[in-house]
Amino acid sequence: QQQVKQSPQSLIVQKGGISIINCAYENTAFDYFPWYQQFPGKGPALLIAIRPDVSEKKEGRFTISFNKSAKQFSLHIMDSQPGDSATYFCAARIGGADGLTFGKGTHLIIQP
């Protein structure tokens, strides 16, 4: 049972455009929702994270939008740059637990 569903699997965006990646979850016990960025040959690195008590969090060009009632959250990358080309993973964690549950990832390509 996949508890975090991520889409799309791959995404191509023109430089300067907005990249949008969506995730949906099933378990209402999740209380922490991070996004990780992974470059080839590297481990994932935390990009931005949100808790369900807020609907939006922005850090630079990266924004998480969170819809608790719909059990969905999304990552928006504004003014996308070729250096943003990477695989992005959404994740979720149950309060009191420790392991993260990850989506299957989105391979993002920013065309110059």
Binding site: P34, K42, G43
Partner: protein, 114 residues
């Protein structure tokens, strides 16, 4: 250390052999996690350590998988009698303490079972 380190970076083994994968967490981090990343899949949580104890082993896929941590630092993930389906990238992460949000990942060990 500056970050989480893992060794070896690549491991090729024959079906049926045992393998050991090593993780050195960030100095001072008490919590350590192992994940498995299969081709085209997300990361799958395997096991978590707080200090030297592993309160949550629920993610280990079979009894061929085991892990230990000594001295509250280095951890070893052992896979016995490897199978082709064990081929994946094994990632280790650490956090300052249990409950700390940010998990810092190492570069992973790419395991190929022939």
């Amino acid at each position: 250390g500056a970050g989480v380190s893992q060794s070896p970076s690549n491991k090729v083994t024959e079906k049926g052999k045992d393998v050991e994968l090593r993780c050195d967490p960030i100095s001072g981090h008490t919590a350590l996690y192992w994940y498995r990343q299969s081709l085209g899949q997300g990361l799958e949580f395997l096991i978590y350590f707080q200090g030297n104890s592993a309160p949550d082993k629920s993610g280990l896929p079979s009894d061929r998988f085991s892990a230990e941590r000594t001295g509250g630092s280095v951890s070893t993930l052992t896979i016995q009698r490897t199978q082709q389906e064990d081929s994946a990238v094994y990632l280790c992460a650490s956090t300052l303490a249990r409950g700390t949000d940010t998990q810092y990942f190492g570069p992973g060990t790419r395991l190929t079972v022939l």
